[in-house]
């Protein structure tokens, strides 16, 4: 019941923040509402016992993306308080896309038979009260290919290391590093040769 109350509180904050982003026209105030919305999403993750994802949400989206967004606005804005006016056509287009997404989500949620899903016994309340514990250790073990939750009694292979996600993860992270270095290389200050600047003078 407590967890339900907290869930509704943070769900309301998430939706309210998202609405604030859409309604307000000042771009930095939008960033504030975005912080509220994304921070509440991370609180929802914590309520579900997904500590790691909650922390990652805070670090990457609230601490990283929003800071970069505000930083970009401050560097590029021409006036003191940049206003964004959306035209009616843009609003219509956005409403269409948003409505379609909402339709897909609602039809999926209504179409699922929730009681037949494997994880349903652990209701939100049970996880939140600490019976199931945090998902961090299972996540870490699954990364290395250990899936004790999938083990079936009597199966010889079930205790062995399966294919984990470690190698794909490493490959992606190296890719991202390459992209970062490439971006820094492209954006670096160009070394000017003498002939370009002062050759004619």
């Amino acid at each position: 019941m407590n967890a339900d109350l907290l869930f509704y509180l943070f769900a309301a904050l998430t939706c309210g923040g998202a609405l604030g982003v859409v309604i307000t026209q000042n771009i930095v105030r939008m960033a504030f509402w975005l912080i509220l919305s994304l921070g509440s999403v991370s609180a929802l993750f914590f309520l579900l016992g997904a500590d790691f994802i909650g922390a990652a949400q805070l670090l990457i989206y609230v601490g990283g993306t929003v800071v970069l967004l505000v930083f970009g606005v401050m560097l590029t804005a021409s006036g003191p308080y940049l206003q964004i006016k959306t035209s009616a056509a843009d609003g219509l287009l956005g409403a269409c896309v948003g409505g379609l997404l909402l339709f897909v989500l609602i039809s999926t949620v209504c179409g699922l038979e929730w009681s037949e899903l494997p994880g349903h016994q652990n209701s939100i309340g049970a996880v939140a009260e600490g019976i199931e514990g945090s998902t961090l250790r299972p996540l870490g073990l699954a990364f290395l290919g250990l899936r004790p939750d999938r083990a079936t009694p009597g199966d010889e292979t079930s205790g062995k290391l399966a294919t984990g996600y470690l190698l794909p993860f490493e490959i992606i992270s190296v890719h991202l590093l390459v992209v970062l270095i490439g971006a820094a290389y492209l954006a670096r200050a160009k070394r000017r040769t003498v002939s370009d600047d002062h050759g004619l003078s």
Partner: protein, 420 residues
């Protein structure tokens, strides 16, 4: 909630007294929050006094001497009363709504870090397996309040300060996380409680003395942490000599003091992280704790049945050791501020991107390769014979404890068994 470690005991206590579960949770959470808010407010009071005293002594002055007796103990309190009385101004050119809300953002982010910071064995508001990760995430949010403050002030000085702060914070987060990873690689856990527990015993069990890389990582971390809480020589966001007062130029009164509460509390928080990661947490390092073995179990059923007074006393001692260690580190930050000249902004960025990031990358690599090197030369993974219990050992110890939840039918086999 998975966390609220100590709150659960409060909650159980209130439950037994006939409170409904919701009220028990709310009251317990409120008490915890109040204790932390008190700490959060009192620490800056003390540090601001300390800063004035130390600055005075370094500059061959006396510092505050009048308010509250010989040493000027109550100077900060008097300042606080003065600040509350001041008019709450917002400049005409400012975005008033953002201007008013920005100090709260900074304070909330800084205060949230205290939520997962343990002061002693089990004395923590929320126990999380990802404690170190989330505290770094929460500390990185403080910059948002500062950026908003600078942007909404409608003043070019404030905007310059905020932009510098944003650039500085975004860059310094990288070496900070990398330096924090070095002891974590040794420890094998992100849980602050386990980190503290494994550094018990004599001083060589502290992670700073584990290998040369953690030793250097401590000093690198401390430099980066000083920069990340925007203390001199990295306080470019406020740089009085160039930017009037930087991001808080337009602020006055209580809102202004909120920024300083956040700053001094963050100084304590980063120092506390350093103490937990490198300097033995709440342990003295001379193995006084082994003498507490009997004390910890002492349970005279005093006032509340189930409340172990011995544990409480041992934890109180631990908390004092922890706060003392963190205060020493804060003192060093103050000392550095009043003796080193401020860097230029390009020098700050150069220090981070060209020196601190490569250094921390090398330290991280070294910390990973160190056990391999030792294993290939000495045939063991630590220098000393008596190795401190690592995180993995602690985890397996915890696994062997009786568990309430059903054990999976097929137990996880160790890699050696799999190889066979």
């Amino acid at each position: 909630m998975n966390g609220l470690f100590a709150a659960i005991s409060f909650r159980e206590f209130l439950d037994e007294r006939g409170f409904s579960p919701l009220w028990a949770l709310l009251i317990a959470a409120l008490i915890h929050a109040l204790i932390l808010i008190n700490l959060f407010a009192v620490l800056p009071l003390f540090y601001i006094w300390l800063e004035r005293k130390v600055a005075g002594r370094i500059q061959d002055r006396l510092g505050p001497t009048r308010v509250g007796g010989k040493f000027g103990w109550l100077q900060t309190l008097a300042d606080g009363i003065k600040l509350i009385q001041k008019e709450d101004l917002a400049p005409g050119a400012s975005d008033k709504w953002m201007f008013r809300i920005a100090p709260y953002l900074a304070v909330v982010a800084s205060f949230a870090a205290f939520m997962v910071l343990p002061f002693s064995d089990g004395w923590v508001a929320v126990t999380l397996d990802v404690g170190v990760f989330i505290i770094l995430a929460l500390m990185s949010l403080e910059v948002l309040g500062i950026i908003f403050a600078g942007y909404s002030s409608g003043s070019k000085w404030a905007l310059f300060g905020a932009m510098r702060e944003a650039a500085q914070m975004v860059s310094y987060e990288i070496p900070m996380a990398l330096c924090a990873l070095v002891p974590l690689v040794v420890a094998g856990t992100l849980n602050f409680g386990e980190l503290g527990r494994m550094q018990s015993g004599l001083i060589h069990n502290w992670l700073i003395f584990h290998d040369p890389f953690t030793f250097i990582a401590f000093f690198t971390y401390f430099t980066v942490a000083t920069a990340s809480v925007k203390r001199a020589p990295f306080d470019l966001a406020e740089a009085e000599s160039e930017l009037v007062a930087g991001f808080h130029t337009e602020y006055s009164g209580l809102r202004w003091s909120f920024f300083f509460m956040a700053e001094y509390a963050s100084m304590f928080a980063v120092s506390g992280i350093a103490v937990l990661l490198f300097l033995g947490g709440w342990h003295t390092g001379i193995d006084l704790e082994s003498g507490f073995g009997d004390l910890r179990g002492w349970q005279p059923d005093f006032i509340v049945p189930g409340f172990t007074l011995g544990n409480y006393l041992a934890n109180l001692f631990g908390a004092k050791v922890f706060i003392l260690k963190a205060c020493v580190l804060v003192f060093v930050q103050i000392w550095v501020r009043w003796t080193l000249p401020r860097l230029r902004i390009d020098q700050v960025m150069t220090t981070c991107l060209k020196y601190l990031v490569p250094i921390s990358c090398v330290l991280f690599l070294g910390a990973i390769l160190w056990p391999l090197l030792l294993a290939s030369t000495l045939k063991r993974t630590t220098i000393l014979e008596q190795s401190p219990p690592t995180g993995r050992a602690l985890i397996s110890e915890r696994r062997t404890m009786p568990e309430t939840r059903p054990v999976p039918a097929v137990a996880v086999r160790s890699p050696q068994e799999v190889a066979e």
